[in-house]
């Protein structure tokens, strides 16, 4: 795990964290960069704290000096200003001083860049993430049935304790892939393949991510989640994904929904079924997801029905943009409810 230079001096780290987090903890956020849960986020925070402390010391010292000078040399009757034009020695000194201070932060910066360029561990999990206006698509090369890609969308599943290397592409405009607690952002640029810093998650949990580069009208609603699972949970998720859903019991809403879903399959795919559309997000194991609409809505029956009926009441989709149509004119309420029941029945059990 020691790919990065980290300052393993607990006293320094704990003291500084306590100081800096005092203000921040009051407004705890699932996207806090000061609450790292991976090796790379941790190494960034270490250097973040170092530069914050250095910058704060310099800033504080200059402000104190300024206030002192202002009080000491305020105009007083009978005291004339001293006509000083400069002082070469002093000026050389305060040209060199910033250079020394910059070395303190510059050297760790270069070490960090060097560390981040190193190869990941051999058992690295490779993921390809593709940005779309306004959702994310993920491919796990070789993890699908018969060595194909396992494809899913919006909620990224990763194992803890194992290097994860995400390559980034875009289908339309520039997006930026960012999971503050796990890894700093890297842009998804059409025509290029970028690589996110390899990260290794510490703890099982759900982490928030968000597109960080303005990508058009619904940019604010392009969010995602990362679920970090134990290796065995991760493996069962892969297996369940590839096995496909059990056939729903005939006569149930889910069974009717499975039939009605045929009208969705031009765009959406569910692994292990006939639905193999690749225009919209893959919906395999949809019942396992905690959110829908790219991390915007909680995954509930009510939300899902409302979303299918009229996506535009949740996301500002400009006219002419390639996005899911509004279905309340094409499907009746029962059909929408059936489709919702079907999608929510797609679980690993």
């Amino acid at each position: 795990m020691a790919r990065f230079l980290t300052f393993r001096t607990p006293i320094l780290k704990v003291a500084l964290m306590a100081l800096l987090l005092a203000a921040l903890s009051a407004c705890g956020s699932p996207q806090s960069t000061f609450d790292p849960k991976s090796d790379v986020a941790d190494s960034i925070l270490t250097i973040y704290i170092l530069v914050t402390v250095v910058a704060s010391i310099v800033g504080f010292a200059v402000l104190v000096a300024m206030v002192w000078l202002l009080i000491k040399f305020r105009a007083k009757p009978g005291v004339a200003a001293r006509q000083i034009h400069g002082n070469n020695k002093l000026e050389v000194a305060w040209t060199i001083a910033p250079i020394l201070v910059l070395l303190v932060i510059g050297i760790p910066t270069m070490f960090w860049i060097e560390g981040s360029a190193r190869e990941p561990a051999p058992d690295v999990l490779e993921v390809e993430a593709i940005g779309h206006q306004w959702w994310f698509e993920y491919h796990y090369p070789g993890l699908g049935p018969d060595g194909t890609d396992l494809i899913t969308a919006n909620e990224l599943i990763v194992p803890v304790g194992r290097d994860v290397r995400v390559t980034l592409q875009s289908d339309d405009v520039i997006h930026s892939f960012w999971i503050p607690q796990l890894v700093g952002k890297t842009d998804m640029i059409p025509g290029r393949t970028n690589v996110l810093h390899t990260f290794n998650v510490y703890e099982v949990g759900t982490y928030y991510g968000q597109c960080a580069e303005f990508c058009g009208e619904a940019h604010a609603l392009m969010r995602f989640r990362v679920h970090a699972k134990t290796t065995s949970d991760f493996n069962s998720w892969v297996a369940a994904h590839n096995a496909g859903p059990a056939t729903p019991e005939p006569g149930t809403a889910a069974a009717r929904g499975a039939l009605a879903f045929a009208s969705c399959s031009g765009c959406h795919a569910v692994s292990g079924t006939a639905a193999q559309g690749r225009i919209g997000p893959d919906l395999s194991l949809f019942g396992e997801r905690t959110t829908l609409a790219a991390g915007v809505l909680e995954n509930s029956d009510q939300n899902l029905r409302a979303w299918i009926s009229d996506v535009r009441s949740f996301k500002p989709i400009p006219e002419g943009a390639r996005f899911m149509p509004t279905f309340n004119a094409m499907l009746d309420e029962t059909q929408i409810a059936d489709i919702s029941a079907y999608l929510r029945s797609l679980t690993a059990e």
């Binding site: 921040l24 699932p30 006509q83 960090w112 960012w178 960080a212 940019h219």
Partner: protein, 617 residues
């Protein structure tokens, strides 16, 4: 004489609307720049206030996503190109000739032309609002969001053409000031006796000359992509590259930051000596630090692109150059601080704003150094931490510095003093409001709030800090109301200023307030950096000259405003052409002809009107 080329009679009246529209007097052009910039400052400020109202609560529905995106795009574009840059130009215009002992700039009509292009370009861009096509792709217009596929309305066209029109004027102004400063200095005004503000103007003028061409190229490429289906940024498979836009934009964009901040640094370097009653500490170092910043400013643009995946080598190199630029900046800050040492500090409003600049700009500089650490930048980039950083530089730095300049030179410009108590109220409201608005944004960035989002979910924990920020923005608005009142009050009933109300040392304070239209009755001979403080070099100027003996100044001209209008309408015609080919071509060709006519009129027009010349002799 064959020189009578005008269709219209040359306006020679010294007052009235025509006098202002045809003026070539650098002082009047300076005032025009200042008033226009203030108007756009109010406009950009209102755009910001609407955004702050929207973000004051989670899941707010006050404005739509489309409106919010247009607001932040135009807030940024307005504040950079229509407020801070022209405010700098207002000071260059009014002050540089006065400070170097000249009667005008080198090319007075070109100067008027620059102003009118700025005004018309700004109007063209904002006209998009009435056509329901307010630009909405962000002020740095990243490809391919600006392509025909993703930007369907004319919004991007208005943005591109508005910037191109303004850019012509800005580039012309850059050349004008280089020539003015290098060639028009009074006898004895050596380069190293120039006020620091003149030095910073010179550096800014060079930065404009070298930084605007990349922007012009990028905008022209984009224009061709949009209008003529070329392929610079659009079709990736066919070999174009969206990152090319980012390189071109930021090769312009980073020097642009120094174009925005150096005038404020110059102002503060001249305000501090006056109110400490002692020379600037290390004048030579302050000047050369400015020159070094100007050069290094061209070598740091990739720090805007650390997360675009250029690789470890590019990131390491540009991290190093970005850290390097902190050294000359630090030198300046230390020299300003040392100027306070041993002084007899007088806390007048201009001084308060200069000290506000010093402290707030320093904080912005320090958070800037944090971005140079690429690891940290990968978390901070495109978050509110960045928004906080550049507002500390451009508001806490540029706007505070420029406001210091307004309080300092308003007496010279208008002949009247601004109220000190109201000025102090303005300062404290602005200082407190500014910090309440922008300090919490650092923390919002740390806890993961991306910039440019029109809404955020309640469970993100962003709401409490956003409420403080929005509250702070109202205090800034109040400060601007107080400022406006102060100006309005003084214009009507301000105390007379006299020649040199602050006991300042530089040449512009040796002449009456407001100055004669010819500035100096006789061109002074300069023997010192601080001529009005140096007893041996004291400049004693004769009082106003009798009318028959006044120096002959260039007469007003219609042609600069006509040519600027024609150029802007050709740009407008291109937009019309998108919808109505015939109408567009008609506008383009008729305005092209007017432009040609204006160029001939301009070239063949004598500097002084015949009638005017004969009146003198």
């Amino acid at each position: 004489m064959a020189a009578n080329t005008s269709i219209l009679r040359r306006p020679l009246a010294p007052t009235g609307i025509w006098a202002w529209m045809t003026t070539v007097d650098h002082k009047r052009i300076g005032i025009l720049y200042g008033v226009t910039a203030f108007f756009f400052f109010m406009l950009g400020g209102m755009e910001a206030l609407i955004m702050r109202a929207q973000l004051a609560s989670a899941e707010s529905t006050l404005v739509s996503a489309a409106t919010f995106n247009a607001l932040f795009t135009m807030h940024g574009t307005t504040m950079v190109f229509m407020v801070v840059m022209p405010s700098g130009a207002a000071f260059f215009n009014f002050l540089v000739p006065l400070m170097i002992g000249a009667r005008d700039v080198a090319f007075p009509r070109l100067n008027a032309f620059s102003y009118w292009l700025f005004l018309f370009g700004a109007i063209l861009m904002n006209f998009s609002f009435f056509m329901n096509a307010f630009p909405d792709m962000g002020w740095f217009g990243y490809a391919p969001l600006t392509s025909n596929e993703f930007s369907i309305s004319n919004s991007t066209d208005y943005w591109v053409l508005g910037l191109l029109v303004m850019g012509i004027g800005t580039t012309a102004a850059g050349f004008n000031f280089v020539v003015t400063i290098l060639n028009m200095r009074a006898p004895g005004m050596t380069l190293m006796r120039m006020p620091v503000f003149v030095w910073m103007t010179l550096i800014v003028a060079f930065l404009i000359i070298f930084a605007f061409p990349p922007l012009t190229i990028a905008l022209t490429f984009l224009l061709f992509d949009r209008f003529f289906d070329t392929n610079f940024f659009v079709d990736i498979g066919a070999g174009s590259d969206p990152l090319l836009w980012q390189h071109l934009f930021w090769i312009f964009g980073h020097p642009e930051v120094y174009i925005l901040i150096l005038p404020a640094m110059g102002i503060v370097s001249d305000v501090l000596p006056t109110f400490t009653r002692k020379p600037l500490f290390g004048y030579t170092m302050v000047v050369f630090a400015g020159v070094v910043i100007g050069f290094l400013g061209f070598g740091v643009w990739v720090h805007h692109m650390f997360v675009t995946g250029l690789g470890p080598w590019a990131n390491a190199a540009f991290a190093a150059t970005t850290m390097a630029i902190a050294v000359p900046t630090g030198v300046k800050i230390f020299n300003w601080l040392a100027t306070l040492y041993g002084g007899s500090i007088i806390f007048k409003t201009p001084m308060l704003f200069a000290l506000g600049f010093l402290s707030m700009f320093m904080l912005g500089g320090l958070s800037g150094v944090m971005h140079a650490v690429t690891a940290v930048d990968s978390q901070q980039s495109d978050t509110y931490f960045i928004v906080a950083h550049f507002h500390y530089v451009l508001f806490g730095g540029a706007i505070f510095g420029l406001t210091s300049g307004i309080y300092y030179w308003f007496p010279k410009i208008s002949g009247k003093m601004l109220s000190e108590p109201i000025g102090k109220l303005h300062f404290w409201l602005m200082f407190i409001g500014f910090n309440l608005t922008f300090m919490p944004m650092h923390i919002l960035g740390v806890i993961g709030m991306p910039r440019r989002i029109y809404t955020y979910a309640e469970d993100m924990g962003f709401e409490p800090l956003n409420q403080i920020v929005s509250g702070g923005s109202l205090i800034i608005a109040l400060a601007i109301v107080v400022f406006t009142f102060n100006i309005a009050r003084s214009v009507r009933q301000g105390e007379p200023a006299g020649d040199n109300p602050w006991g300042a040392p530089t040449l512009e304070w040796s002449i009456p307030s407001p100055p004669h239209h010819y500035n100096f009755p006789v061109i002074p001979t300069v023997r010192s950096q601080y001529p009005l403080w140096d007893e041996n070099a004291n400049v004693v100027l004769p009082p106003a000259l009798p009318a028959h003996n006044e120096p002959i100044m260039p007469d007003p001209s219609y042609w600069p405003i006509m040519l600027a209008f024609a150029i802007t309408m050709v740009a407008g015609g291109l937009i019309i052409w998108q919808g109505h080919a015939i109408a567009g071509l008609t506008v383009i060709s008729s305005m092209g002809l007017l432009g040609m006519r204006s160029i001939f009129g301009w070239v063949l027009e004598p500097m002084e009107d015949e009638a005017h010349v004969s009146a003198h002799h």
